[in-house]
Symmetry: C4
Subunit: 218 residues, 4 copies
């Protein structure tokens, strides 16, 4: 099946699994995947859709390429016996809505705090930072990025449907937050998705710390 796919990414599953493990190690070192939290995926082929995905419950600082799972568009595991993340359906939804080649989900202190702080506004705006130019398609710092915030749920089908609606409504969003849960971002490949995550994490921290300072009336 995987030797002659009609639509592929040009990389083998092993190559993608190795990159996924390296990305996990890097994000873990930043402190955004602690306590086995977070998950990562990358498209291996598009028709039919196959995703390389991190398994559930593994310390992401120790994830090896051999542990990476291959799942189909129904979130069923094709290879190996491990369980994929509960959130596989969310990854698949994002891949479909954004034609993404990779999806990353991090649990950082600052994305957790801001997803809580701005929950009532259903999103947080990040505006006027040079760093925004690192997001695909953004050409100037005079950009307003709206990161939608979605209520958390353990019903993955319901959550996937909500994510679909939010992505359709906010066509320019480069990421989304789940309330008191974490950040999702994506890109055409793992490299771009990682860049987006790093930029959004940076901006959320800058935004949060600025709020603290502004409290003195500056």
């Amino acid at each position: 099946m995987m030797q002659t796919p009609a639509h592929t990414t040009g990389s083998t599953f092993s190559e993608i699994a190795a990159k996924l493990a390296a990305t996990a190690k890097s994000l873990h070192a930043s402190g955004w995947l602690s306590g086995t939290s977070g998950n990562l995926s990358a498209v291996v082929q598009t028709k039919p859709l196959l995703l390389a995905m991190s398994p559930s419950g593994v310390d992401k600082g120790e994830l090896t390429a051999e542990q990476v799972l291959l799942v189909d568009e129904g979130a069923r595991v094709i290879n190996g016996g491990a369980k994929p993340s509960d959130e596989a359906l969310l990854h698949l939804e994002i891949v479909k809505q954004r034609q993404a080649g990779a999806v990353l989900h991090t649990h950082s202190i600052w994305n957790t705090i801001l997803s809580d702080m701005f929950a009532d506004e259903h999103g947080v705006a990040i505006e006027g930072y040079e760093m925004l130019k690192g997001l695909e398609g953004v050409r100037t710092h005079e950009h307003r990025e709206w990161l939608p915030i979605i209520g958390n749920s353990q019903d993955m089908r319901e959550l996937a449907a909500t994510i679909r609606a939010v992505l359709v409504e906010h066509l320019n969003a480069h990421g989304l937050l789940l309330n008191k849960h974490g950040l999702y971002s994506w890109g055409k490949d793992l490299r771009e998705a990682k860049r987006h995550i790093e930029i959004l994490e940076f901006l959320l921290e800058a935004r949060g710390r600025t709020l603290q300072l502004r409290s003195r009336g500056n």
Copy 2:
């Protein structure tokens, strides 16, 4: 004695000591064991109870498997000449009350601060975070974790008795705080105990930083 125990963990003392040293290195790198603070233990066999335990006064970033002590249920050292942690009795109490396979004790900035800030309430509640799902037995973010806070003492027998009472009263607690001292957590093995520590440290930091932000009236 240790070749044919009636009840063992299936691992040799050397294997457990090596895992304990690796866990110490990882927690030290997170900044939670600085200045020789903190201690770690893991069950080697249960009947009679024998614990692998970090020695007192050692830099945990440099702890080797060879330095790990073997102590009995009276906190007496079976091998080697080094002194176990003063807090060996607390580890033993937790092992007995929770049938734990490993106990970890960290001194982080945020667990120290929150143990002080919420001392008058005798505990701190952590509620509604997805990260809570990483705690054993928790299936949804709609969970309220109560971390009891116990007054600090240098009388280890008294402190062990207090811990016993608190663990009996709060049967679902995954950790406890000593006031202006640190965090204890545990698990069925070192891997699970480390996951619990990482999750509780993350949540205490998120809780503490959220308090700072909330002070501006958001």
Copy 3:
């Protein structure tokens, strides 16, 4: 051309490129170049002026000496096919105004926040810290460093002209901030420029955190 220059730094391009890559790795590890942000340059020869410069859009934690570009005083690439940073003109302007041997540009959380907080004052003063003595020419902590803040722009010629005017007006400044963008500093070589960046980043963080604490009325 580069074998017999009239005015050189005494180092070959390869040597400078290797030092530039090492400096990038160090600053990236400090978290000041995340998401492919920031850029670095060092003078290879002065007449005519040639700069070693980091390419655009590269993860600075993975920058190799082979990827470092050689650009002329018009910001044209002499070797290789990659694109130099959009901000090459700003590096060149600083090199000319300050006779600098190296220019570094970082995006840190604290330089971003303070460039925003003090934008209306067109600069931030840092005064009375021993750490200031590490800036070239400063002999006592009784020094007042004024870091000018310039409005951000995507018009690099306009921005270069503004930087020129600001550097002429503030002849003793060791760095400058672009609003919600980042910090520029420089030195006679990469070693000195790196020292300046580390000192200014330290002082901006100390200044920012002191503002937070002062808000309680101390």
Copy 4:
């Protein structure tokens, strides 16, 4: 001279220089010696007094044992041609007053901030933390550590005299702060001095962050 000293530490200069370089690397990794700041010393022999000391202006993350200087009790360099730290006289004063075997001086964000915040009170009290037990001679958390704060100066003889008076007045102090400058601590050897620095840095950060939180009226 150094082969048969009347009073030695039992270690050769090379052994001590290697330990000093390793200690520098560790403290630098904690972010307490950035921008070539800070300095370290250790006693090689006592009669006459000879100190191993870090040279001035060197990146402490790259300090090698070969770069470590040997200085006499007048702060004159015995070996090599490099310049010792301007603060050599302060190290010598502390060695004499405390019979210390090693002296460490760090520039951290939190020691800088608290040395400023509490300057008018001429010291900062740290009380009731378990972490205090890691300071030599302290047996319980029910201890009040007073860290004296001294006004900064570039006159090293004057500063040394002030330090002498402060150490005589506060015989139990394990460290002292220079205003907007940094922390000094010491111990019977490099290992103990490093433990003291780590503990005091931890407690200053916990103290500072607690002040921030208390501002909300808790």
